[in-house]
């Protein structure tokens, strides 16, 4: 009868695994960016990624990302990215187009960090088509 005690745990585990859905694989568009700890632009960075990096977008009933943010998994990290930075197709990246020129700058960690922050801090817009 002891296994009856484990039953709720097993049922819960089953629900938890079905709670999550993989929306798809998307690609990061800006030159550099941060996977955020929470869905706030100024929240801490879990990891820095660069243009064209594939990210798994996850839908989970337990995580509320807000309309502008996507809940993502990048390597072992799970965090948040602005939806406007994601593309279904692999983007045409500056560092991919001009690899030898870009590599020559040998950007340090601080520069990579700030470049990612820069994309978070911009207020971006486009006037509409007439």
């Amino acid at each position: 009868m002891w296994w009856l005690l484990l039953l709720p745990v097993l049922v819960f585990a089953e629900t938890a695994s079905t709670d999550e859905k993989l929306v798809g694989i998307f690609y990061f568009k800006p030159m550099f960016g941060h996977v955020h700890q929470s869905s706030v632009k100024t929240s801490a960075s879990l990891t820095t990624i660069q243009c064209s990096h594939p990210v798994k977008v996850i839908e989970s009933s337990k995580v509320s990302a807000g309309p502008e943010w996507a809940y993502v998994q990048v390597a072992d990290y799970r965090g948040f990215l602005l939806k406007q930075f994601l593309s279904e197709k692999r983007p045409d990246c500056f560092q991919g187009k001009y690899p030898k020129f870009f590599d020559a700058f040998n950007l340090d960690l601080s520069e990579l960090y700030y470049w990612g922050r820069l994309n978070d801090q911009y207020i971006q817009g486009e006037t509409r088509v007439k």
């Binding site: 030159m31 100024t42 500056f94 187009k97 001009y98 690899p99 030898k100 020129f101 020559a104 700058f105 520069e111 700030y114 470049w115 922050r117 820069l118 801090q121 911009y122 207020i123 971006q124 817009g125 486009e126 006037t127 509409r128 088509v129 007439k130």
Partner: protein, 295 residues
């Protein structure tokens, strides 16, 4: 009859022997050559269309080799001029992150909507822009080129000190947009090296990064020290005036804004450099004012 038969037999045996001799008379090397020499089976190959296929294959290999060469050479390209402006502008912002202090929690001024709406009211469509708010009084405003987009820098302490409305901020940005469109920034900052190297190839060598270093220096000097001339400011003011004339509300707000800035920078030592960089709000007000009638 028997004689005729004998003659025929002798003739046919002669022919058979000659034929056999002719067949076996080839040198071993000749036979080997026949095996190696595809000419001997050329007809068969032609009939099967194999020669054509082999020609096509050779052409494909050549095309692929050419493409591969192009790709390899493309890896050693300098970006185009537009891409270079975008890259250098952002690199300059990254390099000056601490000085400009743009990495901070900002108030939501809803600038994206108000600036878009002002631009659209004035007839400017499909313009991509990025606004970066900085938390320093040492840089009031600036517009720098992006890759097919506009990058605006705007000081939050300045906005707060002047208590600017959304419309006033949008007009300040609009003035910066026109300044960038008039090409003054690029003209003041660009170098010969940049125009020479942009879009070219450096295969077999290293990229000349001194070109970017020079541009970064010019950015700093233009934004913090050099600024714009009276002539450039006059032309800019007249252009903004022309665009805003169709909308009296916007024109009046712009006119009042210049007066507000003039009074503020004159009374606040923290902003004493503003007049040197953007000469001058007082003159701008004069240029916009209707000529006084002499009685």
């Amino acid at each position: 009859m028997i004689n005729i038969f004998r003659v025929k037999l002798a003739l046919s045996s002669f022919l058979i022997t000659t034929g056999l001799l002719a067949q076996t008379g080839k040198l071993q090397e000749e036979k080997e050559l026949e095996v190696v020499n595809f000419k001997s089976i050329k007809k068969v190959l032609e009939q099967d269309g194999l020669t054509e296929a082999s020609k096509r294959k050779a052409q494909q290999v050549q095309v692929l080799k050419k493409e591969q060469g192009k790709l390899e050479s493309g890896r050693f390209m300098y970006p185009t001029e537009s891409e270079l402006w975008g890259f250098v502008s952002e690199y300059w912002l990254v390099k000056n992150a601490q000085l400009l202090n743009w990495d901070f929690e900002k108030p939501d001024y809803a600038l994206e909507r108000s600036f878009s709406s002002t631009m659209e009211n004035l007839g400017f469509y499909q313009k991509k822009f990025k606004i970066l708010l900085v938390n320093t009084p040492s840089l009031v405003k600036a517009s720098i080129p992006g890759d097919n987009e506009l990058i605006f820098l705007l000081s939050v302490p300045f906005i707060k000190s002047l208590d600017l409305s959304k419309l006033e901020i949008s007009l300040l940005l609009f003035e910066e947009f026109i300044r960038l469109e008039m090409g003054y920034f690029k003209k003041n900052v660009a170098t010969e090296k940049m125009s020479k190297l942009a879009g070219s190839n450096f295969q077999g060598g290293k990229p000349d990064l001194s070109m970017v270093e020079e541009l970064l220096k010019n950015y700093t000097s233009q934004i913090n020290q050099k600024g714009y001339t009276f002539q450039q400011q006059f032309e800019l003011t007249k252009k903004v005036d022309a665009y805003l004339k169709s909308s009296p509300e916007l024109w009046n707000t712009y006119f009042r804004l210049l007066g507000k800035i003039d009074r503020f920078v004159k009374s606040n030592t923290q902003y004493k450099d503003y007049v040197k960089l953007y000469p001058s709000p007082e003159m701008q007000v004069k240029w916009l004012s209707p000529p006084e009638k002499v009685l």
